[in-house]
């Protein structure tokens, strides 16, 4: 298959997913609301004590992303399962890698909405500060790579659990341990960015490179494993 055809298939499915999510609304609002609640809960937990340190802010950001993200991803695949539409896609002549990649990208878009809620929440409730455009660029890069790595793992397991009994319980048990490198690198990188010195930004760049390598590895594994894991019932 030519690369242009493959990209065309991914684009077709991604457009479909975005259209469906925009019309349903349910997933977008629920995920964003859940993310806002997590940030609020954390802010209440630290109420009255010393101001939260940058380590805490970095931790809150990535924990909120992981929790709200997985809720959204899990629900999105559950809806596909209810209508059996994922099976419909797998039975069509589309490349299964295109199915996986489009799911990964649509889930990454959904998780980006969590960022839209969590980052302003941290700025407002935790007094998070960024030292200039360079730091913002680093943070956005870190978030983008972290989200890609997380969704690469979550999309693979969400699809592969199929109709397994107890899949709602199994999914976080499989996804969270495997995404520890993403959460660790994300939180450490965010801490370095928020710390704001020249040296810490150099350290943050190292975490960015780590995440990039992790993404390449996890997406490659996902493309390779998606077909055998999702097709055998």
């Amino acid at each position: 298959m030519s690369p242009a055809r493959f990209v065309g298939q991914v684009w077709l499915l991604l457009r479909k997913d975005v259209r469906v999510e925009l019309r349903a609304g349910e997933l977008i609002y629920a995920t964003m609301l859940f993310a806002a609640i997590i940030v609020l809960l954390f802010s209440f937990a630290f109420l009255g004590g010393a101001p939260p340190t940058v380590e805490v802010m970095a931790g809150v950001l990535w924990v909120a992303l992981a929790l709200a993200g997985l809720v959204g991803i899990s629900r999105s695949f559950e809806r596909e399962r209810e209508a059996d539409t994922l099976r419909g896609l797998l039975l069509s002549p589309l490349s299964r890698s295109a199915v996986y990649l489009s799911k990964l990208l649509s889930m990454a878009l959904l998780m980006s909405l969590v960022v839209v809620v969590v980052v302003p929440g941290l700025l407002l409730l935790f007094g998070m500060q960024l030292s200039g455009a360079g730091a913002l660029g680093h943070l956005l890069g870190l978030l983008a790579l972290g989200i890609l790595g997380f969704t690469a793992i979550a999309s693979l397991f969400s699809a592969s659990l199929g109709r397994a009994r107890g899949r709602e319980l199994l999914l976080p048990l499989l996804v969270y341990p495997l995404s520890v490198p993403v959460l660790l690198a994300g939180a450490r990188g965010t801490y370095d960015i928020l710390y704001g010195t020249q040296e810490s930004l150099i350290d943050a760049a190292r975490w960015l490179r780590f995440l990039l390598a992790f993404d390449v590895l996890s997406i490659t594994c996902g493309l390779w494993l998606f077909e055998p894991l999702s097709t055998n019932e």
């Binding site: 479909k16 896609l89 019932e233």
Partner: protein
């Protein structure tokens, strides 16, 4: 419309499927020919859906072989095979937030038929199918607002839209009214005339009997009987009695009521 390869026949040999310690299929051998309609009967849990999933390439058998035109299914190009496959299942496999028209547009693009998929040929084909399944008036409504019968009509259009050469229909008459039943029977006859291989899983003997060339009876994972009928001659009564007779004869028996048997199962 882009050409897709045609299958002459699909056959299984000594097919076994185990789910853990439970055996779903036990040595099923059958042959489905192009231009033939085969009804697959059997009680609940007989292994019909498992057999369909294996024929669709979605499930690997524990043992045994599926052959497409004398070539093992595992050696057939996967994408080409799926391009020729039309599967109607219990679920409509349509997106609830999209309209029937948008769903069909999506499937036209997925199957890459009527190139360019956004062109007038595609639109005409989609409108033709909406008319064929009597969904013109509901074509713009979200699928989630459709009744069960309308959903089934949409699923039928989605299954046959790309003119598949292997059509697997699991309880296709579910939810359809009298007009819907007549519409589906007419479409099955058209698909047969087009040269498709059709396998219908059903409990609706009376409706399916006149459409069948071959009836397979699956019982506890085994092929209990293979009955051949001249197309158009079967009735629910004859099918039921043949089914009972075949059941009494035991597994793998075969009765031929046809003057000219259209297929020859192994």
């Amino acid at each position: 419309m882009s050409a897709s390869p045609r299958f002459r026949c699909i056959a299984t040999r000594d097919l076994y499927k185990d789910y853990g310690r439970q055996r779903a299929l036990a040595g099923v051998s059958l042959q489905l020919q192009a231009g033939q309609v085969t009804a697959l009967l059997g009680e609940n849990g007989a292994g019909k859906s498992t057999l369909l999933s294996i024929l669709a390439g979605m499930l690997q058998p524990t043992r045994g072989l599926v052959r497409v035109d004398d070539q093992p299914l595992t050696e057939v190009d996967d994408v080409s095979f799926r391009r020729c496959l039309g599967v109607l299942s219990h679920e409509p496999r349509c997106y609830a937030e999209l309209s029937p028209r948008e769903n069909l547009q999506l499937f036209v693009q997925l199957y890459d038929v009527y190139r360019p998929a956004t062109g007038s040929a595609a639109s005409e084909a989609i409108e033709r199918w909406l008319r064929a399944v009597n969904l013109e008036r509901a074509a713009g409504r979200p699928v989630r607002t459709l009744s069960r019968g309308m959903l089934q009509r949409l699923a039928i259009a989605r299954t046959l839209l790309h003119q598949p050469s292997l059509v697997l229909l699991d309880e296709p008459y579910t939810g359809l009214d009298q007009a819907g039943v007549a519409m589906l029977s007419s479409l099955i006859t058209q698909e047969r005339a087009r040269g498709a291989i059709l396998l219908i899983v059903t409990h609706d003997l009376a409706t399916v009997a006149p459409l069948c060339d071959q009836v397979l009876v699956l019982s506890k994972g085994r092929l209990g009987a293979c009955i051949e009928l001249p197309f158009g001659s079967g009735t629910g009564e004859t099918l039921l009695s043949a089914y009972r007779k075949a059941d009494q004869r035991g597994p793998r028996s075969r009765s031929s009521d046809a003057a000219t048997p259209p297929g020859s199962p192994p």
